[in-house]
């Protein structure tokens, strides 16, 4: 019979075996993420996958990597509590935190106070790195592992130039974005870069993230007769997309739509997302680097679904932290920060390097040629098809039947 005694003996034995395999204390990485949100739910599993791969190859200088997961329920207050617990009770050496800018902004001072390296796989607000510039010594522990809103706006404009302005002669746009911390710099970026590519911004609509009925917003936009709607949405996604289709708003949607990057979005919207174009750092079947597709395959095999954008970055970040600890020769926080600043790592989304101290956005990712360029994907027949940049494109832009292109017919 299986007795308590034998169970205890067995677990002691396993403990002995597993501890004997590792020379020193494990390296602990805390993951604070949104388990219930589509974008956030990939963060912890992807980190886990990276840790297992590193451990299978002997860990970092003989030390095992352990991932400690905290669900923050999308709340800043819960994230702060989780961060404090992670550092003071669970003794983590670094933290990977959240895709929500508000959460990361709330954690940033805590990373400084508790002298713990923190990197975000998905938040976008420029304010995160602007804060570091203002108070480097205190806040240098925070790294921005995803694109800033300003960079995102720039990438969207680059893509719009090649996909909309040149082939379709589009000249006017309405910016439609949700009212949140990450869209303030995004909208400012759009306002600046759209005129540079020859697109006039005829209006700028910011809606509450609680909006459920988008009819009045679409009506207003339609009345302005722009060639395209440039989006900045992440907290909302399903509802504007479905209502765009059901009301047959004849204007294309192009820009940032974070929820559209997820593979389940087709089902969430019952296919209404057909034709929507969105910026992403990765896409199914797109080999941005040699590491991209093996990661997606391994993730899908292990968890049965495709990672969200923050999954790719979270996976890379575990490798980057491991590499930084190796180069720093240990887990001293200040040395880790120095090592992290020297990161030059080809991950799943491109070549990662951080902007240095003295830049207006220190610890933000370098973007553009040679670093991260991003992609522009379009949902076509239930699949995300990469349409930009040309060298990585798998298809060309198509339009749903209800879209009326004014400029192209001229």
């Amino acid at each position: 019979m299986f007795s308590l005694k034998s169970f205890l003996l067995a677990s002691c034995a396993t403990a002995l075996i597993s501890s004997s395999a590792w020379a020193a204390d494990p390296i602990k990485i805390g993951v604070i993420a949104e388990a219930q949100a589509v974008a956030g739910s990939s963060i912890a599993p992807a980190a886990q996958l990276a840790a297992e791969e590193i451990n299978a190859k002997g860990g970092v200088d003989g030390r095992k990597i352990e991932i400690v997961v905290y669900d923050n329920h999308s709340s800043s207050a819960e994230s702060v509590r989780a961060f404090q617990r992670a550092v003071s009770e669970d003794k983590v050496n670094a933290v990977i935190a959240s895709y929500i800018s508000e959460v990361v902004l709330a954690l940033e001072p805590w990373a400084g106070r508790l002298k713990t390296l923190m990197i975000t796989p998905g938040a976008a607000s420029d304010v995160i790195t602007q804060n570091i510039a203002k108070n480097y010594d205190q806040l240098k522990y925070t790294f921005h592992g995803y694109l800033t809103s300003t960079s995102l706006a720039g990438l969207v404009c680059d893509a719009a130039k090649d996909l909309l302005v040149e082939p379709y002669k589009m000249k006017t746009a309405v910016i439609m974005s949700e009212d949140a911390a990450w869209t303030t710099p995004l909208d400012a970026g759009y306002e600046k870069c759209l005129p540079d590519i020859g697109v006039k911004v005829v209006d700028h609509i910011r809606m509450s993230p609680d909006t459920t009925d988008f009819t009045p917003i679409f009506n207003k936009i339609e009345a302005l007769k722009p060639d395209v709607m440039i989006t900045g949405i992440s907290h909302v996604g399903t509802q504007p997309t479905v209502q765009w289709k059901s009301q047959q708003v004849p204007i294309p949607m192009f820009g940032i739509s974070s929820q559209a990057t997820n593979s389940t979005f087709w089902k969430d919207t019952n296919g209404a997302v057909e034709g929507v174009m969105f910026n992403a750092v990765s896409g199914p079947g797109v080999a941005v680097t040699p590491k991209t597709l093996p990661f997606v395959d391994a993730y899908q095999k292990k968890f049965g679904n495709i990672p969200s954008y923050a999954g790719y970055t979270s996976y890379d970040e575990v490798y980057m932290i491991a590499d930084a600890i190796h180069r720093a020769g240990g887990t001293d926080p200040d040395k880790m920060v120095e090592a992290m600043e020297a990161t030059d790592y080809v991950g799943t989304i491109g070549r990662v390097a951080f902007k240095p101290k003295g830049d207006p956005n220190p610890h933000a990712l370098r973007t553009g040629k040679g670093y991260i360029t991003g992609l522009m994907l379009q949902w076509q027949g239930g699949k995300q098809v990469n349409v930009w940049p040309k060298e990585l494109a798998a298809g060309t832009v198509t339009w749903p039947s209800f879209i009326k292109l004014k400029a192209a017919s001229n």
């Binding site: 949100a37 910011r206 509450s208 009925d213 399903t238 479905v242 059901s246 009301q247 019952n270």
Partner: protein, 291 residues
């Protein structure tokens, strides 16, 4: 153009509000229960319909049916888990039962909400619409599904009216809302009346949830606002008054739509809430309330 736009859009959304609030006010009228898990039941029905139609490929009709069934099951679960044990408890003083039920249904609603978020994520879902395409009336391009929503809402409300006024069972429900003691004296079991009312409520909330899921989409975040909107409509119309709720639903629906079009979508809900505060000052029993 704008006038027609507001008229048509406001009509559909108001019909949906009316249907959602009718069941809520009926339960209060008959058994004195303010069911704060209302929003969770609506969202539960919509998500069940979405999952059935999309994930399991049953098609829109079967999906809607499964959603309605889910609404019914959730309504009975609410009654048997959160309401009846408190109503029958000897440990809780009679005068305190109302607040206990209020708390229990609120917590039960949160349990459902968290379960939905856990199982299906908190992303918004949209139920596969039964009617597709758009129609243009008076120059206003409207999804046909919006007209369909308004029609179904009014058919359901009409059926409810028929049930309450023209059938024996319905009349005893009506009688129980006026004088529960009198009904028991006539030899009708109050507990069986409660069961009937919760069944009607489950059907209404289920249909309303699914229509909302087709029209605007729902997520686990919608739970709180849906309960709040039903609650404010019912309070505005007068607690327990079905016709009051119907009128209040149209007042709130048009006030919201008008604000969204004429001022800004960001301020959509504010005037209706201000109106509620004013009514509370001047006429605490609501526009058509009896008590």
């Amino acid at each position: 153009m704008l006038f027609w736009q507001i008229l048509i859009d406001g009509f559909a959304i108001s019909a949906l509000y009316a249907l959602g609030a009718t069941g809520f006010t009926l339960i209060f009228g008959v058994s004195g229960v303010l069911n704060l898990s209302h929003g969770a039941i609506m969202v539960g029905a919509a998500v069940a319909a979405w999952a059935a139609a999309g994930e399991f490929g049953t098609g829109p009709y079967m999906g809607a049916l499964i959603g309605i069934l889910a609404g019914l099951v959730l309504a009975f679960a609410t009654y048997f888990i959160a309401v009846r044990p408190i109503q029958r408890s000897r440990a809780i003083a009679e005068s305190e039962k109302e607040i206990f039920i209020l708390t229990a249904t609120l917590l039960w609603g949160i349990i459902i909400q968290e379960a939905i978020a856990y199982l299906f994520t908190n992303n918004a879902k949209t139920v596969l619409p039964i009617v597709e395409g758009v129609t243009t009336v008076f120059g206003v391009r409207t999804p046909r599904n919006e007209y369909f929503t308004a029609v179904i809402c009014w058919v359901a409300i009409g059926l409810l009216w028929f049930l309450v006024n023209r059938t024996r069972r319905g009349k005893s429900v009506m009688a129980a809302s006026m004088n529960p003691r009198g009904v028991t004296l006539l030899g009708i079991e109050l507990s069986s009346i409660y069961l009937t009312v919760w069944a009607i409520y489950g059907l209404l909330a289920g249909v309303a949830g699914i229509l909302l899921g087709m029209f605007l989409g729902v997520s686990s975040y919608s739970v709180g606002p849906l309960t709040a909107s039903a609650f404010s409509i019912v309070v505005l119309g007068g607690l327990g008054s079905v016709s009051g709720s119907l009128i209040a639903a149209y007042v709130v629906g048009y006030l919201e739509t008008g604000t969204a079009y004429l001022i800004s979508p960001a301020y959509r809900t504010i005037p209706a809430l201000l109106l509620l505060v004013v009514v509370m000052y001047l006429r605490p029993q609501g526009l058509f309330g009896r008590r």
